[in-house]
Symmetry: C2
Subunit: 159 residues, 2 copies
């Protein structure tokens, strides 16, 4: 298998956006991806960039990606967050996800962070088992709270 | 009540660290705060800073703080994450948390983000009710996965 994991370049963002849309469908969500190709170029290649993206290239085709950025823990200091790890459906189960995950951990370790973190859907048992097999702990006592654009605007206009 | 919410300065970090330790106790965790005063100075006042901190000052005393940073959603683009919102125990219930939260939302709105996000412990019913009253949605179908320093090192050395 001729697989290369490398840092993404501007011209890879079209393939990256296709993978993002594919994952949204897998997560049973549609019409949620507002992000455009131009957004990815602007945000991923600014100074400083808002994220770091790696792509998995199999026989010259992009078949997977990881997208991450740093966060901050008031207990541990600088941490890394894995926002997405995506392998296109027909290439799953071939070790590409493993290679992308391993690359992400090594990259984070090279940045000296003391914690790596990400979110996983509670019904995605395969993913949870995969992560636990890698030494991750999956916590079910934390909930994620979000305000979307409408909620933010409502809050502001009610003040 | 002579309450001022303002952006934190270097010399506020001692009070901020005291608040961080107070929250760790409230969350039933001890010996988890590895962060030092020097870490907070280095990370919060670097270029770019790793977080933005606001303090609540009541009669010239720091009684609360919010600490946040930007994240990135592959659906929405740049988002804001509220890592901590802390009010010292004896000043709770007096509107200071509300003022810090409101300040954080306005700050995030000024940055043009389309989503604001944070984590809440599932047994912290008062916090969940407070957030929902502000228009937030609390999701229970996402779990948080983490690898700590030991898990990262084990992973690296097994490769």
């Amino acid at each position: 298998m001729n697989l290369i994991i490398r840092i993404a370049e501007r011209e890879d963002m079209k393939s990256v956006l296709l993978l993002i849309n594919e994952l949204a469908e897998f997560e049973r969500e549609t019409d949620v991806v507002n992000l455009t190709y131009d957004d990815l170029i602007r945000d991923g290649f600014s100074d400083p960039p808002l994220f770091v993206c790696f792509v998995a290239v199999l026989n010259n085709q992009i078949v997977g990606m990881s997208l991450s950025y740093s966060r901050y823990s008031t207990w541990k200091g600088k941490t890394m967050h894995l926002e997405d790890l995506i392998v296109t459906e027909k290439e799953r189960g071939t070790g590409i996800g493993n290679a992308l995950f391993s690359n992400f951990i090594k990259y984070s370790h090279s940045k000296g962070v003391k914690r790596i973190e990400w979110a996983v859907l509670n019904w995605n048992i395969n993913a949870i088992k995969f992560y636990e097999s890698k030494g991750a702990v999956v916590y079910d006592d934390w909930h994620i709270a979000q305000m979307n654009e409408t909620a933010i605007k409502n809050f502001i206009s009610n003040k």
